[in-house]
């Protein structure tokens, strides 16, 4: 009964995290389509939400990596998974409050690793999995997206640069229905699977699934897909209101190249099971499409902030996850610690939200993935 209660809390926290992931990432998925006027804002958000949902059903490779490849599932308890989720949620709340662009995916992995390390020591963390399947792909993916989008836009300008701009823009706006759709599917595939992996890890830790019989239950897939799609849809309305001031102008060809490159990198990494940051990948593609046309078109200060946040996210979320585990253990191994921490986090989130509403939106765009 005690184990089931903490499992319910973990699943609720994981789905809440998934919802906020979709909520924050709407901007990444629909911004390009809206700023080039390829799609009306309401249509773009609805389209992205539906394709996020569909994308979550495509593959389970990333879920397997998160559940089996980063921490030793045999040493993990539901309380460790809970503490890891709290580490990710708390870091996301803090970065959202201060307007720091960070990755929800890295926060989630950092939180779980930190909690596992504090609970069971270094033996609970699969160092080779963390470095080989998370950190190295996380460095490679944005650079790859930058290069593919940059090369793509150079080829594009070579082929269509001397044509009348009207039909070219119309053509690429039409093409963005495809590239934007692919990007939404890619986002749903990679990000929803991280939540699936964490819930499955909790099910293994609680004894509901044998560690040598790894599979992701259908209800986990459906609920994770629904949570990220709902988050995308709800987050879209906030994005629509702030779109005009936060997204820099790009032409339809650049938008198409950036979306195509971002989708290609995220789908390819999902296929091989790398849980990377969709935010950083899409940012890399957008910067690549801009830099290939004109280096000064890129806001290098914003790009620098993304790098700083990238470096900070894993260790910061790990530290919060570890502290949360230590605090929860003060109340024993049962669900009491999780209940107290959940209440503190809910109160903290309500306080930060009220303060942020009172002070108005942050100057920098929150971009998380």
């Amino acid at each position: 009964m005690n184990g089931d209660l903490i499992l319910v809390i973990v699943v609720a926290a994981a789905l809440a995290f998934d919802f906020t992931n979709g909520f924050h990432d709407t901007a990444n998925v629909v911004a390009t389509s809206i700023s080039t006027r390829a799609m009306a804002p309401k249509l773009a958000v609805g389209f992205a939400a539906v394709l996020n949902f569909a994308g979550a059903f495509i593959s389970l490779e990333v879920a397997a990596t998160v559940a089996q490849g980063i921490v030793d599932a045999d040493l993990i308890t539901p309380l460790i998974v809970f503490a890891g989720l709290i580490g990710a949620i708390a870091w996301n709340l803090a970065t959202w409050y201060f307007g720091l662009p960070s990755s929800s995916s890295h926060a989630l992995i950092g939180g779980v690793v930190g909690a596992a390390f504090v609970a069971e020591g270094a033996q609970a963390v699969i160092g080779s999995g963390l470095v080989g399947k998370v950190i190295v792909p996380a460095i490679v993916a944005p650079i790859l997206a930058f290069a593919v989008a940059g090369l793509g836009i150079l080829f594009t300008y070579r082929l269509v640069g001397r044509l009348r701009p009207g039909p070219v823009n119309e053509g690429f706006r039409l093409g963005q229905l495809v590239s934007g759709g692919m990007l939404a599917i890619a986002h749903g595939t990679n990000d929803a699977q991280k939540t699936m992996g964490v819930i499955t890890l909790a099910l293994v830790a609680n004894g509901n699934i044998a560690s040598d019989d790894f599979h992701v239950p259908s209800w986990v897939v459906v609920s994770s897909a629904a949570a990220i799609a709902l988050g995308t849809y709800v987050g879209g309305w906030r994005i629509i209101k702030t779109m005009g001031s936060r997204i820099h102008k790009m032409d339809a060809a650049q938008g198409y190249a950036a979306q195509g490159a971002g989708a290609a990198v995220i789908l390819a990494s999902s296929h091989v099971g790398f849980p990377l940051s969709t935010t950083h990948t899409i940012s890399g593609a957008v910067i690549g499409a801009g830099a290939a046309k004109r280096l000064s078109a890129v806001r290098w200060g914003v790009a620098g902030n993304i790098v700083v946040a990238w470096v900070l996210t894993l260790p910061a979320a790990a530290a919060i996850g570890g502290l949360t585990y230590g605090f929860s253990r003060l109340f024993g191994t049962g669900s009491a610690g999780a209940i107290v921490v959940s209440a503190v986090i809910l109160a903290g989130a309500a306080f930060l939200f009220a303060r942020r509403v009172q002070r108005g939106p942050t100057a920098t765009a929150p971009a998380e993935g």
Partner: protein
Amino acid sequence: MLPLAEVVDWGGLWEMLWSSFLAGLAVTIAASLAILGATRAVDARRAGQLVPAGLFSLVGLFGALLLAAAVVFGFVVMTSK
């Protein structure tokens, strides 16, 4: 210390690199060819140059088919593992 060369999933990383390059460039070049062919075909037809118009139509069609094939192939690969 973990030796980096041993812990990195080089096979997966290589697959990610080449498939991203191929897919990302294929969809961009295919769309560009479709737009180039369609635009030039319209211009040529308006100028009464029917043979170039037909050839550019073929280029446009090739680009559109290449784009569709790249998208379908991508989904088949993603869902077949």
